[in-house]
């Protein structure tokens, strides 16, 4: 890779990282929705590598954002454990299932659930 291409690559990674950080800090999510499409679009990643690399980056990104939120006194460790530890089990189950299930209807159903929850959230 030429030096110029390498520099361009780093600049793009910086843009993606900063945007994802902003997203993560602002919304309390991992930032994958920003990272994955941009890795595919700007750095010619395959979908699989993009998602996997995004996950790894999220460890750091959510870590930083959680720390800063902790400084504001907003983090509840108890609830985080109560929801996070079962989620780890869920992820292992989910990836196992992904090998065996057709996810099309599940994805569409989940999208519906998300929209319903959004409405519920706003009505609170």
């Amino acid at each position: 890779m030429t030096a110029e291409r390498s520099a361009q690559r780093t600049v793009r990674l910086m843009a993606i990282g900063t945007s994802a950080g902003l997203f993560s800090g602002l919304f309390g999510v991992g930032g994958g929705s920003v990272i994955v499409p941009l890795l595919v679009l700007w750095l010619s990643y395959g979908e699989r590598e993009a998602t996997a690399t995004s996950l790894a980056a999220i460890v750091f990104i959510a870590g930083f954002a959680a720390t800063v939120q902790g400084l504001y006194g907003n983090v509840d460790v108890g609830y985080a454990a109560l929801i996070g530890v079962p989620a780890v089990g869920g992820v292992l189950l989910g990836t196992w299932l992904a090998q065996r299930l057709r996810t099309r209807s599940i994805a569409l159903l989940f999208a519906l659930v998300l929209m319903a929850s959004a409405v519920e959230l706003v009505l609170r």
Partner: protein, 135 residues
Amino acid sequence: MTIALIAIGVAAGVLAGLLGVGGGVLFVPGLVIVVGLGQHQAEATSLLAIIPVAIVGTWRQDRYGNVRRRDALLLGLLSVVGAAAGVALANALSGRVLRDAFAALMVGIAAQLVRKTLREQAPGAIAEKPASGRG
């Protein structure tokens, strides 16, 4: 409430592993609706909960050789300024505004998921799908 939280945690994890849509997008409304946390606290708590899920997901994906480690590290390190700014911005907004913005995010992610699903080829046996890359 405890059972509801655990159930939401499991569901969020399963969906993340199954669909590649992150847990955070379910953690936050779960904490607000079930526990009654404020939007700021829910988001902050969600961030902490995401960490172990992302670690385990990454570990699994790494075994399949899908993780580009150097890029992931760069992304993480280069996110610091954005993350600090994002948190500061979140805390500058009222809970109401932040909550409405988050609801809009959920709809956006739902739309993104639908587009992606409808674009995909006819489903058959699915090769190893990465977990929780989004959200």
